[in-house]
């Protein structure tokens, strides 16, 4: 899969070009392309003057970054404590089974990705599932898979 990386210069221009901007730049790249393309990491390393190994290290250390392209719909299942005790794990199992992939994976047709996230700060409406930035609260095993439709 090839990607147009023409947005990169604009992203680099938003931040001071020194090593301390690494995480912010990667955040913006992740947001733009929904993953960190290999070529983008190479460019980031040279623009910010950071060793490629350090870029790779940061890109794999933090949860927010992914090195593989994401599906059209990213299903983020909150597994924070409040969501867990209200059945978050059961919802995760069910969505995983429904889509036939595990958390962290993307379906073969690039339609869905599942991610787990440890608390999104919406504990009062646990359990929470976020589908492409739309928050769904009080999800139950009865209605979880319905969120994936439409």
């Amino acid at each position: 899969m090839t990607h147009k990386l023409d947005k990169l210069p604009e992203i680099f221009a938003r931040h001071p070009q020194d090593p301390s901007s690494l995480i912010m730049v990667l955040q913006d790249i992740q947001q733009e392309y929904r993953y960190l393309p290999c070529e983008a990491l190479l460019q980031t390393a040279s623009v910010l003057g950071v060793k490629l190994s350090k870029v790779f290290s940061v890109a794999t250390f933090y949860n927010a970054f992914g090195l593989a392209p994401k599906g059209e719909k990213v299903v983020r299942i909150c597994v924070g404590t409040a969501c867990h005790i209200r059945g978050g794990a059961l919802i995760k199992d069910q969505i995983e089974h429904h889509l036939g992939i595990k958390a962290g994976q993307t379906t073969g047709d690039m339609k869905f990705s599942i991610e787990v996230v440890a608390c999104v700060g919406a504990c009062a409406m646990a359990p929470v599932v976020i589908v492409n930035d739309k928050y769904h609260g009080e999800v139950s095993v009865g209605n979880a898979t319905r969120l994936l439709k439409g």
């Binding site: 350090k54 597994v79 409040a82 005790i85 504990c123 409406m125």
Partner: protein, 618 residues
């Protein structure tokens, strides 16, 4: 406009209050994460659409305020009509027309939108009369849910930046530090270290450059107080930081915002820009010689970055790996320079202390634990939401008076505080006053303030397993006890949850835990075994039930439970058959269904959809 004299600030506040006063009423619509998910934006849109259609005397769209979290997320979307303080819950877009007609054009109250007190079924009209709010004492959350966070004038109108003006014009840095020290304000991030002492140490280090960092990482799952403050009252965070910077002599500050809080980041960024425009941040603040600027630093999803040295490395754009330190970060922090790191809630308390005085602040709370503490009250409690109480309030008051007790009338089993670094406390500890020292003594900790209520349907072994799993995936992996030790603890809890544990395993876990506590490099590992140890301490019987009887009393651990259809109750409606994604349920229409235990994955979907309670867990 740029404010160059403190007096202008007062004029601005008065001016804005006057303009706002032309509306006979104002409406606040809660736009916290919870209410937004429940459709708060549609409520705002409905107001706009409605007000475009009909003219209301002395009222227009500008009087409809999108505010931060009101706290009572359970009842959202929430709409409050001021100045009466009429509190409408679970509002739908179709209700807006009648709200405008009855409660704004006239002074009527719409009965059906009012909150019903579950104790007596009585409708409660006013905000302040609802038990959820009446037992609270709001200092850190003083403006959250009251002002429009994206408008700096709203903050200025409620005496915002007044403390900053006072500090810059009438106080010396030493006086500021003395006042904060005298107030006995302790860091609200978990450890509870004296803020004043920290500032003093930082100021006393000989250095040309010092930093102030606001920790908005709030990684504890189940906590969202700081999130709500950053989203709902970003300027008070900035004001606290600027005062701190003046006191310690810093020129540059950073706010480290957790990645999972995108809205908080946007609001803070906007707030920084606005305060710079008003001359409250940046060069020559309020026309004085003091300059300070703040940069936003977004986290990228790592719990360990709540640890000070890891956070500082993350701010510098590196991997958030803690550094072992026998020199504190307040002396040698960001870029090895002296750095004050406090969390959001701590900074938010600062302007109040400056305005109202240390003596006033000390009167709130209990000895050595002055002030209030915000909590997110979540889990199996009826009124979930964001609360703030005076230190020393008991668990019982929080859970029963504010929280309204356990959901579905179930029994209370435990409360978890302090997140993955804290512990679970049982019913016997319900009268424990909630403050830093009491919680630590009981084997838990304050943490940033997540309070997760558990009922008899919560398995404590599973809770311990859950936290260990969390920590295993969040450990940075630098030191052995944390990386390998927590991993092995998690394996052992898994073994018990699967019904393969032995009694020796409990002993083994306790022993290993002690070594992890002693041996780990940073706080994550040192406190990591706490959830496990506290559950073993208070719920040993439950562990033994898993081990000896191969039973999970709460009906949670999949290997130890079975789902069964009660034939006498089952109506054969087939709802469960459709709900079961594993196709484990078979049977004919209008006849009792059967669950095939070999296929059943124990997801509980059937029980969730069954209207007749015909599915039991054993």
């Amino acid at each position: 406009m740029r404010i160059v004299k403190p007096k202008q600030l007062e004029q601005l506040a008065a001016g804005y209050r006057k303009t706002a006063g032309k509306h006979k009423k104002t409406v606040t619509v809660c736009c916290g994460t919870g209410c937004l998910a429940k459709g708060a934006q549609k409520i705002v849109d409905a107001f706009e659409e409605c007000l475009n259609r009909r003219k209301v005397k002395d009222f227009d769209v500008e009087a409809v305020k999108k505010t931060g979290c009101h706290g009572f997320c359970e009842q959202g979307p929430l709409v409050v009509i001021e100045p009466q303080g009429i509190f409408y819950t679970k509002v739908k877009p179709k209700d807006i027309e009648s709200i405008i007609e009855k409660s704004i054009e006239n002074d009527e109250v719409i009965e059906k939108l009012l909150y019903t007190n579950p104790q007596d079924g009585r409708k409660i009209e006013k905000y302040s009369d609802i038990p959820f709010y009446s037992h609270q004492r709001r200092i850190a959350l003083r403006n959250v849910g009251k002002i429009v966070p994206s408008d700096i004038r709203e903050y200025i109108a409620v005496d915002g930046y007044k403390a900053l003006a006072k500090v810059l014009t009438t106080m010396t840095p030493d006086q500021v530090i003395d006042e904060i020290t005298k107030s006995e304000l302790r860091g609200r991030g978990g450890g509870g270290f004296s803020a004043g002492k920290k500032w003093r140490t930082c100021r006393n280090v000989a250095a040309d450059v010092r930093y102030v960092i606001c920790n908005g990482d709030e990684g504890d799952p189940g906590a969202f107080m700081d999130c709500s403050i950053m989203e709902g009252d970003p300027h008070s965070v900035l004001e606290g930081m600027i005062i701190c910077a003046f006191a310690v002599g810093a020129k540059q500050g950073y706010i480290y915002v957790r990645d999972e809080y995108p809205l908080a980041g946007i609001r803070l960024q906007k707030a920084i820009a606005a305060s710079e425009e008003y001359g409250l941040l940046g060069d020559k603040i309020l026309g004085t010689d003091f300059s300070f600027s703040i940069r936003l630093s977004r986290g990228a999803g790592a719990f360990v970055c709540g640890e000070s040295s890891a956070l500082m490395r993350s701010v510098a754009g590196e991997v958030g790996e803690p550094r072992a330190k026998y020199i504190h970060s307040v002396v040698k922090g960001l870029y090895d320079l002296p750095t004050v790191l406090n969390n959001v809630e701590t900074f938010v308390n600062v302007p109040v202390i400056i305005n109202s005085g240390a003596d006033w602040f000390k009167k709130i709370g209990v000895a050595k634990n002055s002030g209030t503490k915000a909590f997110s009250l979540v889990g199996k409690v009826r009124n979930t939401g964001l609360i703030e109480v005076a230190m020393g309030t008991t668990m019982r008051e929080i859970i029963y008076d504010i929280g309204g007790g356990i959901i579905d009338g179930r029994t209370f089993k435990g409360v978890q505080t302090g997140g993955p670094s804290g512990g679970c406390l049982p019913e016997t500890q319900l009268d424990l006053p909630v403050d830093f020292d009491s919680l630590t003594k009981a084997g838990s900790m304050m943490g940033s303030g997540g309070m997760i209520i558990m009922d008899d349907k919560t398995c404590m072994v599973d809770v311990a397993r859950y936290f260990l799993n969390f920590l295993v995936s969040e450990s940075c992996g630098k030191c052995v006890p944390c990386r390998e030790g927590l991993y092995q603890l998690h394996k052992l809890t898994e073994k018990i949850c699967e019904g393969n544990g032995t009694e020796e395993d409990i002993e083994k876990m306790e022993k290993l835990s002690q070594q992890i506590v002693v041996g780990s490099l940073c706080g994550l590992g040192k406190s990591g075994p706490k959830p496990l140890l506290s559950t073993i301490k208070y719920y040993r019987d439950e562990y033994l039930a898993h081990i000896r009887d191969k039973k999970c009393p709460a009906g949670v651990c999949k290997n130890l439970i079975a789902y069964r259809v009660i034939p006498e109750t089952c109506t054969g409606c087939m709802a469960c058959v459709n709900a079961c994604v594993y196709q484990a349920i078979t049977g004919r229409k209008k006849e009792p269904q059967v669950i095939n235990p070999d296929i059943c994955q124990k997801c509980g979907a059937c029980a969730a959809v069954c209207k007749y309670n015909a599915i039991e867990v054993s």
